[in-house]
């Protein structure tokens, strides 16, 4: 891999439109500002080789890392949002969903797929943060529910890759109830004696943290990922002073006993594969 540092107008693409820009040949690390070619960055699994910053990934990118030969079958692909509350803030909810679908090419904030990880069958539900902040609504709840049904049918372990700001406000009470719905499904998964791996990636906050993300048989995370119930801004407002360094980061959450381990992205597939074997006894 070729390494060099450069900072020049034209290659300082913002983090928001980096991967989507086909002509963007360069990636600039938002943490240490190191610039690297997109190809090398992809080869690095989107981790900065200088400062170890783990760039946020999409569901597809995690599937590609995890599943053997990038082969997997997506389920419940066609589900999309209804408008049960006729929610209208600055934009009607269906219009917001449609615009987001067109912008992202996604149907909602999660994809569910099954395939093999080092030869072991695994059902994975992975969130997409760019779809309304990875928010938990009826579609996400139902997709996870179907993923769990699939895991039970395949007698396979189940994994959720969380990356979410929390419940989707535009579905109000119904989105809150998805926390209970997924918990009910996890309870069924548990009765079937099938393992549930919760992988909390940056960021995992709000209702997702206060439900299934914290309920793994093992809870794991990536370096420096934000994991919180109330986000840092709210906590800061509540206590009226600055937060300690590293507060609510994966390392902090591990230290306080809520994670089993933190895994570097380059080791993710191996660690998951190893864990899957351990569960088999």
């Amino acid at each position: 891999m070729v390494w060099f540092k450069r900072s020049k107008d034209g290659i300082t693409t913002s983090t928001a439109d980096k991967k989507e820009t086909p002509e963007g040949l360069w990636y600039k690390c938002p943490t240490c500002k190191t610039v690297i070619s997109r190809d090398d960055h992809a080869e690095n699994l989107y981790v900065c080789a200088t400062c170890n910053h783990h760039e946020r990934l999409s569901s597809d990118e995690y599937f590609a890392i995890l599943f053997d030969e990038d082969k997997y079958t997506e389920i419940a692909k066609g589900l999309y949002s209804a408008d049960p509350l006729k929610f209208n803030d600055t934009k009607p909810y269906p219009a917001r969903v449609k615009a987001t679908q067109e912008k992202t090419g996604l149907k909602d904030a999660i994809k569910v797929a099954h395939g093999k990880v080092n030869g072991e069958t695994l059902v994975v539900a992975a969130m997409d943060f760019k779809f309304i902040g990875g928010s938990l609504g009826s579609v996400m709840g139902e997709k996870i529910a179907r993923g769990i049904d699939k895991a039970i049918a395949l007698k396979s372990p189940f994994m959720i890759i969380s990356k979410s700001g929390g419940a989707r406000m535009m579905e109000a009470g119904l989105s809150l109830m998805q926390m209970a719905k997924v918990s009910a499904k996890l309870s069924q998964l548990s009765d079937a004696k099938l393992p549930y791996i919760s992988f909390l990636t940056d960021p995992t906050t709000g209702g997702v943290t206060a439900s299934f993300a914290m309920l793994g048989d093992i809870n794991i995370s990536e370096p420096n990922a934000l994991i919180a119930f109330a986000g840092p801004r709210i906590v800061k407002e509540t206590i009226g002073r600055d937060l300690p360094k590293g507060f609510q980061k994966a390392e902090f959450v591990l230290e306080h006993g809520f994670l089993d381990f933190i895994v570097e992205r380059k080791d993710l597939k191996e660690k998951i594969g190893q864990s899957l074997v351990m569960f088999k006894g």
Partner: protein, 319 residues
């Protein structure tokens, strides 16, 4: 002293008038019973007019009315004082924002658990404004498990502006505590009834809100976020809380329509805070009837049904 919300002001005007007439009557000895009777009639009509067309935001305000009965008021009334309060999560401390214990309801033991608000400035602080820390949720779970062990039905009373978003709360796993409760409540082998008596804000409410029956008092609210916070996020200002209250569909009627709650307990006209004994009686009646019904079901089937109820929640399109 009675407290009045802004939209209750016309009632205050009449109450003040009645007081004045009574004072004059006492001092002068002149019989004013006719005048007082007329004023009382006027008051009844005014209350009726105000309460027949409450907006969602007005109901939110009612749910927070300082004179509204809180969890311990219900528990003491329902059990006629036959209540043994239990404390502590056996790990960190006793959370004063979450109360619970054994109580006798109609001659049978029930485990009561609920968020508790304070009645004055000092008590509000003592109760942390009804915002539990993780210890509160873990105390609740301890009591749920205790009830399950002795086959005692559980009643939760929900009244919280949210789980406390503090630094220590985060350190001690507020998210995990709520998550654990939701999961474990789903699996409890005894009947569970959850009553939203005031505010039902988000995960902080759901953390004691998974039951065979979830029921709202008419003038309570239940949603994923408070109207004020919703307004702040969507419109970047608190000024749109009324619109937010509309948009969130957080009233008891809306929530029943969405099949998120099973039942609504009517409040007397004028609200629970004007008719405490009546609302206590309605809640008591509901609980006795429903505990009896739920106890007739096979525990495995009852729990499976609870699972199914929550699994069916949500609306989506496509396949």
């Amino acid at each position: 002293m009675e407290n009045y919300l802004a939209f209750e002001e016309p009632i205050k005007v009449i109450d003040d008038e009645i007081l004045k007439v009574r004072e004059v009557e006492e001092n002068s000895g002149v019989d004013s019973s006719k005048l007082i009777k007329d004023l009382e009639k006027k008051k009844t009509q005014t209350i009726k007019d105000i309460f027949k067309a409450l907006t969602p935001w007005q109901r939110v305000q009612l749910s927070r009315h300082p004179d509204r009965p809180y969890s311990l008021d219900y528990i003491n009334a329902l059990t006629e004082g036959n209540f043994v309060e239990l404390h502590g999560d056996r790990n960190v401390k006793d959370d004063k924002a979450m109360v619970g214990g054994f109580g006798q309801l109609n001659g049978k033991t029930v485990m009561f658990v609920g968020q508790q608000k304070g009645i004055n400035t000092k008590m509000r602080q003592f109760r942390n404004f009804g915002m539990p820390n993780p210890e509160g949720y873990r105390k609740a779970l301890r009591l749920f498990k205790l009830a399950e062990k002795f086959n005692i039905p559980i009643v939760t009373l929900i009244d919280t502006p949210g789980a406390f978003p503090g630094l220590e709360a985060e350190e001690r796993g507020q998210g995990e505590a709520i998550a654990r409760n939701i999961y474990e409540m789903m699996r409890l082998k005894v009947p569970v009834i959850c009553v939203i008596i005031g505010e039902g804000a988000s995960g902080g409410a759901l953390g004691i809100g998974v039951g065979d029956k979830v029921v709202m008092l008419e003038n309570s609210w239940y949603s994923v976020i408070s109207p004020e916070n919703c307004s702040t996020i969507l419109w970047r200002s608190w000024d749109y809380k009324e619109q937010a209250a509309d948009a969130l569909k957080l009233t008891s009627t809306d929530m029943k329509g969405l099949k998120i709650v099973d039942d609504v307990i009517k409040e007397p006209i004028g609200g629970a805070h004007r008719h405490r004994e009546e609302i206590f009686a309605s809640v008591k009646d509901y609980l006795i009837k429903n505990i009896e019904r739920l106890q007739k079901l096979d525990p495995e089937k009852r729990t499976a049904k609870r699972h199914e109820k929550f699994i069916e929640m949500g609306e989506y399109k496509g396949r």
